[in-house]
């Protein structure tokens, strides 16, 4: 005899002005936006300030959609409903072209070719599937 039971945590996070506009850019413009700061360069995703000294950001900069992988963690056995992909994938840090910090995202295809230093490119979710979340970028794919 057994029982299936699922603990569900239906969180809603308020985004705030800066991340809210970043997400609107993904959804409506298929553009990844960073912010220029005096001490950390172009920060992606934007925070509205520099984490180094708290100084305010000074303007928006479009970055990507290509970039370079700076870290990789492969998940060989994803847990359905918990991980962002139901098949093997990798969490990656991507330093997008024009950015000075790295964005956390996933790579679901071409894992065998994925290395630190790989060139990757954003793969956009379909228009009707983009709802203003980080998964409006479906993932990154290895290029070149």
């Amino acid at each position: 005899m057994f029982q299936e039971s699922t603990l569900a945590f239906p969180y809603k996070h308020w985004t705030g002005e800066t991340i809210g506009r970043f997400l609107a850019g993904l959804k409506e413009q298929r553009t990844i936006w960073g912010e220029r700061t005096a001490t950390l360069g172009v920060v992606v995703p934007p925070l509205g300030y520099s984490e180094a000294d708290g100084s305010p950001a000074s303007g928006w900069v479009a970055v990507g959609p290509g970039g370079v992988v700076t870290a990789v963690a492969v998940v060989h056995e994803p847990i359905a409903g918990f991980h962002p992909s139901e098949r093997p994938f990798a969490y990656v840090l991507v330093k997008l072209d024009g950015a000075d910090t790295a964005l956390v995202h996933i790579v679901a295809d071409g894992l065998e070719r994925l290395r630190v230093g790989s060139r990757v490119e954003a793969v956009w979710a379909d228009d009707e599937a983009r709802r203003g979340t980080i998964r409006d970028i479906a993932g990154f794919r290895v290029v070149g």
Partner: protein, 170 residues
Amino acid sequence: MSNTPCEPPATPVELIEAKVELPYHYVAGDYRAQYLRALQNKRILGSRCPVTGKVFVPPIVNSPASMARCGELVDVADRGTITTFCVVNIDVIGRNLKLPYVAASVALDGADISIFALVYECEASEVRMGMRVAAVWKPDGERQGSHEDILYFRPTGEPDAPRESYIDRL
């Protein structure tokens, strides 16, 4: 593109939903499976420690006090005494209970420890330690062999049990 925007849209996305789900697969084991199956027949099983004579509900394999094997499964009553309780006034996501409700520990007659139970059919303010209650079962044919076969406990109207009869069965 000639019309490349120089800023993201002015109107932010206000919130994101991040649903985390943790799927579990619990295996009941021998005693717990027998206990659950018995509920389908409106029976509540416990196990008796051969050293201390105490009856545990749901049945456990080894007595936590003597470590002796509790080899004997016994029936306990589907009525008992509220030993301690809590009035719940705050809703829990995913639980559909009318507020306020009472979550109580009930020492079933014949058992030496309490089970956790819902108490209905009275005002929350009337519930007290020592109150006598009885199980309200799902109708015949609807019981599945699960904890939900007992819908809740209701007051029986019997006189309250004396404190010494339940104070060691919390």
